[in-house]
């Protein structure tokens, strides 16, 4: 069971979220019925509210894919970029104006296939971006091709005989690259997700929240996972809090989604380090 005592009281009602944080003229969103991305979008808005960040000073950056449309729905500065490159664009924004809050919304293919290089290098630099991965285990926008997070032996339109690839664990990948904050969330636990993203926003340095989304339309259908409700129920039954997971055996953890903050540590943030460098050499001899 997931302890909800401290998370539900910080939740705005949906109408307030929409009128305060969304661009209602651009709703409804384009996502399919049952898609988990809308829940993540709401959680991001809730996290912005909880972290009390100034929308004028907030930039949402996205790439290409189902996830990428999220940036435009939230009323702040939004940059919808090219496939895989959101983190690289975001790096330029953060470097140019470190006082801006820069949040990247990306997907599993966008962040770990075509954009994998940018992900690991941003993590390595510890630049102050918050990266939210809408991880639905499939390429949804193009119609259900297998992605780097499609589980081994599962199906996609380009894995008609089962996927022989081994999947990435995006949070582990980012930690391996040096991410100072890494967490995993699941759309079933939406209030906890908002709290987790809030922690990511408040963290100084690079933070990543890998969120288990739902794609009943392609991933679910191709892999006989049932309806959106069935997929939600699966998440409910198979998510384990990170603290609980520490007490479980590898066998018990097989097939489970471990959620919560996986790593949270302090380290010098990149744009601040560069500012120090500028102070040191500014006005020096030519």
């Amino acid at each position: 069971m997931v302890d909800m005592t401290n998370v539900s009281k910080n939740t705005m009602n949906t109408a307030d979220i929409i009128y305060k944080y969304m661009r209602p003229e651009h709703l409804p969103h384009i996502w399919c019925p049952g898609c988990g991305n809308g829940i993540i979008l709401r959680a991001i808005a809730q996290a912005m509210e909880n972290a009390k960040i100034d929308r004028n000073k907030t930039v949402l950056v996205s790439g290409i894919g189902c996830s990428s449309r999220a940036a435009g729905y939230i009323d702040c500065n939004s940059l919808h970029t090219t496939h895989g490159r959101a983190i690289a664009f975001a790096t330029g924004i953060k470097m140019a104006h470190p006082e801006l809050e820069v949040i990247v919304i990306t997907g599993d293919g966008d962040s770990s296939a075509i954009g994998g290089n940018h992900l690991i290098h941003a993590a390595r630099r510890n630049i102050g971006l918050t990266v939210v991965v809408m991880n639905n285990n499939i390429y949804g926008m193009t119609g259900g091709q297998y992605s780097p997070t499609t589980p081994h032996l599962e199906y996609g339109t380009t894995a008609p005989y089962g996927n022989i690839d081994q999947p990435f664990d995006i949070a582990e990948l980012a930690m391996g690259a040096g991410a100072t904050f890494a967490a995993r969330g699941a759309v079933y636990h939406s209030a906890l997700l908002a709290k987790t993203i809030e922690k990511g926003i408040r963290h100084k340095g690079f933070s990543i929240i890998d969120v288990a989304s739902l794609c009943p339309t392609y991933y679910g259908r191709k892999n006989k996972k049932g309806s959106a409700v069935d997929m939600m129920r699966y998440q409910k039954d198979n998510t384990v809090m990170v603290e609980k997971a520490k007490t479980m055996t590898e066998e018990e953890l097989n097939g489970k989604i471990v959620i919560g903050v996986l790593r949270d540590k302090e380290a010098p943030e990149y744009s601040e380090e560069y500012a120090k460098l500028v102070e040191k050499v500014k006005g020096g001899n030519k």
Partner: protein
């Protein structure tokens, strides 16, 4: 007093860029453009600017676009293979109307090619490398001094027209060292800005000159930028009328300002019967060949487009009116020569001098074509 210094082309490019207001550079090492990154890394923090070495060429241009969106004049530099990689995001900057300078110090290709021998093989890529119809401005320097002065011009055009500008250098000029006078002051143009940025203002609000004012992110406008075709608010549209109008406006904002953008240099063209058409590094050999021909009594002139794109149709047509023969010299298999043919028509003799083996075109090779009995 302006001071004279010995400088390399790549170095002059950075100094010109800084004089024009560049305060952000993102790049990836590649010969023969690497000195641009190295000099930027040294110089930018000293003037309060920022340098970052990104993980690849694609990230470099993306990062530079990001900084420009946040209101800081930005540049990235590369050479052939890297220029290929940057093409997708170059198109993004065209469509999103983000001021940016992209330097391509051309080297021999295709592919990894002949690093790092001279070439001018990226002329057509500069215009057509990114997919879809889009406008582009490309400028080619042929001296170290021009690396400085034209870098300033690249930034000014990028800012004035809210568009990426390609500084189409080549290995000859990038690695050339010459004494140049550093101007004490240069004219600096900044992007059209928004007086009172607020969220209700359409981000791409129409203007008479087709160039919308630009609010940097973070100043209160809270707008959307996308690589999808969009309406005036900056949000994606599937309306074909709006989509068509947008691409038309992008093309027209450059086409309508042809006279401001296109710059050429003409030498001895008043009485010329033979003319050499050349640009960038090749102009140096051409200039020598033209002077020799003149001494031999041949009425020979030189036409050098400084602006490569848009192509100098009007100036070329006018300059070649009384010319019988045009010798086109370029370091490739023949790229701009076809533009010359298109403009002057079939009643002129066109001689082509090209090189694709990494060696330089010599004055003698050009002179031989000038003197050739047709």
């Amino acid at each position: 007093m302006a001071k004279t210094v010995l400088m390399q082309g790549n170095e002059a490019c950075v100094e010109g860029a800084i004089a024009a207001g560049m305060r952000f550079y993102a790049g990836y090492p590649i010969t023969p453009s690497t000195e641009i990154a190295e000099v930027s890394a040294v110089r930018l923090p000293k003037v309060g600017g920022k340098f970052i070495q990104m993980e690849d060429e694609i990230a470099s241009i993306a990062c530079a676009i990001g900084a420009s969106v946040a209101g800081v004049k930005s540049m990235t530099a590369t050479s052939g293979p890297g220029f290929s990689l940057k093409q997708e995001n170059l198109g993004y900057a065209c469509l999103a109307e983000v001021p940016l300078v992209v330097v391509d110090v051309q080297r021999s290709g295709p592919s990894t090619g002949l690093p790092t021998s001279p070439s001018q093989g990226d002329v057509m890529m500069a215009k057509w490398g990114t997919h879809g119809d889009h406008p582009i401005i490309a400028i080619a320097p042929s001296s170290v001094k021009e690396c400085y002065t034209l870098a300033v011009r690249c930034f000014n055009l990028a800012e004035k027209y809210r568009t990426p500008v390609i500084f189409l250098m080549d290995e000859i000029i990038g690695h050339l060292r010459e004494g140049i006078e550093i101007p004490e002051n240069v004219e600096v143009i900044n992007r059209p800005t928004v007086e009172n940025p607020h969220p209700k203002r359409p981000a791409y609000a129409p203007t008479d000159n087709l160039i919308p004012a630009m609010a940097p992110f973070g100043e209160g406008q809270r707008y959307n930028i996308t690589g999808l075709l969009h309406d005036e608010s900056g949000f994606p549209t599937n309306d074909t009328k709006i989509a068509g109008d947008l691409v038309t406006r992008l093309m027209k904002k450059i086409e309508n300002n042809y006279d401001d953008i296109v710059e050429v240099e003409e030498t001895h063209m008043e009485d010329a019967e033979v003319a050499v058409f050349c640009f960038g590094g090749t102009a140096r050999a051409a200039s020598s060949a033209v002077e020799t021909a003149r001494k031999k009594g041949i009425k020979c002139g030189m036409f050098r487009p400084i602006t490569i794109w848009p192509f100098a149709d009007k100036e070329l047509k006018e300059a070649m009116k009384n010319v019988k023969k045009i010798v086109v010299a370029e370091h490739n298999w023949g790229q701009l020569v076809n533009e010359v043919r298109r403009v002057v028509g079939n009643d002129k003799i066109i001689e082509f001098v090209g090189k694709i083996d990494g060696t330089v075109i010599t004055p003698d090779e050009i002179l031989a074509k000038i003197e050739k009995e047709d």
